[in-house]
Amino acid sequence: MIVTKDLTHKWFTLFAEKVIQEKEQLSEYDRIIGDGDHGMNMARGAQQLITLWQAVPPVHLSDVFKQAAMKWISGVGGASGPLYGTAFLEMAKAVGAKEELSNDELVTAVKAGFEGIKKRGKSDIGQKTMLDLWAPAVQDLEKDELTMATLQTALTKTNELKATKGRASFLGDRSINEVDPGAASSKLFFEALIEAGEFGGN
């Protein structure tokens, strides 16, 4: 798979659309183990990104990541704003001036995003956060095995964890078997990549 600006643009557009569509569901997950705003937060960033791109589409590949980063950092707030924002910013940095990415380069960029979340969130895998969706997604992407099914498996495994980071950590054991909203929105992010990849050429 060659990752072009168009594919990336499509990826993030699909992601934004999915977030808006799943807004209520994401907030409902968050209502159960957090404070009920994850869908609203993510949809704010998503809507701003769509609005921006309707007016001025991204020109360069790195613009996609950079503009998404800016919208999440300055338009979202909460925990998810800086986390996604940092991930996208690190991805933009990893991409640099390139206008096309090989599969390996894509993996490198996504890994950079993953590391960005860890650093910003002072967190790691196993804490029932978005990281527990990103980590297996990166691995599957590396092995070219990323599918809707493997994403679902990753989410299911995350559900089984006990939260030790973010608001859900206050629930302790009661967080077990609940869906982490950030993991659920991250699943949408990688689903969008798969969908964009299929249509955009492989």
Binding site: R31, G77, G78, A79, T164, R167
Partner: protein, 329 residues
């Protein structure tokens, strides 16, 4: 169903702050970034900023005014403001002596304020901060986010606000704030949950005869759910919890803040205050400062919280009693 006196649920933040500005002539409202600032700043003073998600009214905008905050950054309901929002407050509050941020310990707030600090420093504005984590309901360990910042934050505002007005430097304020936070403990109880306007249903459910000890100001779960108890027993439990968690001895001199969660009538707050102050006295504590009312609410949650501050330093009492123009103090 949600029953609220609002217009569009996604417009509550802007509508509320526009209302705040219309009512209070001595503030500015930066509409773009939802920041409320003083209209007149004390020159060369360290700027004091607080903020976080909205839904905790009068926190934080109500504490903007001479003697307390220079600016309040207001996020969406229960959502930390973004770095841009915080940065715009920093830029306005900076009077040449740097800016001090009072941050409540939530991952979102910590990350967003930290990013704003980095951005401000790039612009050459010296910024320091304190993270308030007074909620002893939370087991403080590496397995959680750590203790949450709750109503004790208001006492931090007052003390550092007064110190800044008296000319303390950024470094002195940082030291002062950290010491205050180290001597601060709060714990709350809810009898009815709150409803975020955009969500439209309660953040958690409580049975008709249940209460929850240790609830957070965003409806985060507490440490124990029990049948509703008389005020006196609630007071005993909250004081006991603070004593267990802080290991304070009863020869302390204290400041006491009894805080209503938003939908609790003052009648209940004063009854609860009577029980708390009586128990503290019976135990031998000396209480030198007391305050009762809605200061750090959780929208329409019914419940109360108790905050105790050890008055380690005599000056703290002066700072607490020094006059301020902040309307909500």
């Amino acid at each position: 169903m949600m029953k609220k006196i609002i217009n569009q649920p996604d417009q509550v933040l802007a509508d509320m702050l526009k209302g705040y500005k219309l009512v209070h002539d001595d503030v500015f409202y930066l509409e773009e970034t939802h920041v409320i600032t003083r209209s007149h700043f004390t020159s060369k003073k360290v700027g004091i900023i607080s903020g976080g998600g909205s839904g905790h009214e009068p926190a934080h905008a109500g504490f903007v005014g001479e003697g307390m905050l220079d600016a309040a950054v207001c996020g969406h309901v229960f959502t930390s403001p973004t770095p841009d929002q915080v940065l715009s407050a920093i830029q306005v509050a900076d009077q040449g002596a740097g800016v001090f941020l009072v941050i409540k310990n939530y991952s979102g707030d910590c990350m967003n304020f930290d990013m704003a600090k980095e951005l401000a420093e790039l612009e050459g504005i010296p910024v320091d901060f304190v993270i308030v984590n007074d909620d002893v309901a939370v087991f403080d360990s590496s397995y959680t986010e750590g203790r949450r910042g709750v109503a004790g934050t208001i006492l931090v505002h007052k003390i550092v606000g007064a110190a800044a007005e008296n000319g303390a430097s950024l470094e002195e304020i940082k030291k002062l704030a950290e010491s205050v936070v180290a001597h601060l403990a709060s714990v709350g109880v809810a009898i009815k949950p709150s409803i975020v306007p955009e969500v439209g249903k309660p953040g958690f459910e409580l049975e008709e005869d249940e209460m929850e000890f240790g609830i957070g100001i965003h409806g985060e779960p507490g440490y124990s759910r029990e049948k509703i108890k008389p005020s006196r027993e609630i007071a005993e439990e909250l004081i006991h919890k603070i004593e267990v968690e802080t290991k304070w001895t009863t020869d302390q001199t204290l400041a006491v803040l009894i805080n209503g969660m938003g939908a609790t009538p003052l009648m209940e707050q004063y009854i609860f205050a009577h029980d708390c102050l009586t128990i503290l006295q019976e135990k031998g504590y000396t209480v030198q400062f007391k305050k009762v009312g809605n200061y750090m609410t959780a929208i329409d949650m019914a419940g109360v919280s108790l905050t105790l501050l050890q008055l380690e330093d005599e000056k703290w009492l002066d700072y607490l009693t020094q006059s301020t123009l902040a309307p909500a103090w």
